[in-house]
Amino acid sequence: MERGDFLPFLLLLPVMLVVFFVMFLPLVYGIVISLFDYHMGDLDFGRDFVGLGNYIRMMQDKVFWKSTVNTLYFTAGAIAGDLFFGTLVSVWIQSLNERIRPIIRPIVTIPLLVSPIIIGLIWKYMFNINGGMVYWILSWFGLGAEQFPGLAGSATAMLCAIIAHWWQVIPFVVIVLSSGLVSIPNDYYEAAEMDGASFIQKFFKISFPSLMPQYMVILLFNGVDAIKVFDIIYALTGGGPNNSTMSLSLYAYKNAFDHFDMGYAMAISNATMLISFLVFGIVFVRYNAKARKEGIKG
């Protein structure tokens, strides 16, 4: 409307500057350097330029593909459990007396506040074969490290990481879903009860469809969060055994700071970004378009 109205832009300037210098610039720089065989120190533009060499090397790198599969497996497992258990707990909280609910919530949300590196540490302790609580509980059923090798087994280590992630993120799901459940009018349930609907029917016919926007948010936020998983795995297994828990972020990190193979590390981290965009970009664009339609005014 008003041309030359600079105040809004002036107010935005500090945030935009930070985003430019700390996000955008490194992003571009990372794309450029990924075209070089660069190991810290001075860069010789002529000698070190390898074009797509790092990306070709990546395509032939078995560990890269393993990390990709691991990351997607982790993301899928994490989200599936988050949604399933999160829904269960939210429905349970909703079924409670209104006087008990406010007492339960702060306790259930504790894991949300704990640092992911501590989550990794906690579960490393829980999954410890010597004196970890998980193995103590398994022993009640006659199970031990042979049946469930836990962090030491290539087949089970990622599952342990997924469980640790569930523990942290389900509280977020519960908070978001509970806020959705509260806003569903009680009449709907009462009407359904009159028609003799069972508990499960009520959930799938009433609660589930009304919670769609909440599920969308959870899918987006948790998905993005899971696909860049680093801290939990760093603490829990460090990527082992035999790279079975190596995630893309961790693999890029290791190339960068164990070998200082910066060009290659940036190629991997750019691939991580691309995968994140491919998997969640669509969800994000739909979510954003919907949000805009629902009246964020210009």
Binding site: L7, R105, M273, I296
Partner: protein, 274 residues
Amino acid sequence: MKKKTRTRILQIIFGVVVFVIAILPVYMIVSSSLKPTLLIRKMPPEFVFEPTWTHYLKIFKQGNFLSYFKNSLIVAVTSTAVSILIGSLAAYGLAIMKSDWANRITGFLTFSKLLPAITIMIPLYVMLDKVQLLGGFVGVILSHIAINAPFTTWLVLGFIQDLPQDLFEAAKLDGCTRMKIFWRVVFPLLSPAIGSAVLLSLQYSWNELMFAMQFTSMKSYTLTVGVSRFVGAISVDWGQSSAAATVVMLPIILVGFFLQKYLVSGLTAGAVKG
């Protein structure tokens, strides 16, 4: 009647399981930090024991945890304060912006959430190295601001848009400039949004590991970096690492507990709005 009791019993059993799963891991770490080393790996766990402070004495006296704690405070408080200030100004800027740019910029800020931290962190490390800013607080504080300020903008914008338009009109009629409207009228009404933004930014910054691990050095290590060094060791000293973990998680759990209201409203804002 019978069916009711059965549901009630199921409800209670489920509740106990949820409770135990939520609390027990935290309890185990806190109690291990107070147990003599021999008891830590004893299963079934002893719930009654004589607490010892040896592990804490070790990490504070021989380890550098006192300085890590101070560093974490510096990083978390500075990055949060700056994020809140510039983030809420930016949100107001977006709210009073009359052009299409407002939508585009909001979309762009949200889109930055899709960016994996590692993609930024590795090139940023090289850049900071070039300008010799590695090792101090600058790199880690800046990167935390880059995450928290756009988030604050987005959160506060939602709240500003919910304020009644009459408020702005009335203030305008009184002859307030737009900046005066912000400081006198809008900002005081934003306290719930600011509360959420403060808590969530503090929480992020206090708990963040990846940026902190590479951008700091011996003198500026934060708590999470201190803990990560325990975890990386070949044989983990569970007493000391439990004590360290407790020192990291207890303060933020307590803050979150008392600011529960803001935690919930901040997290659900995204689910209700865009």
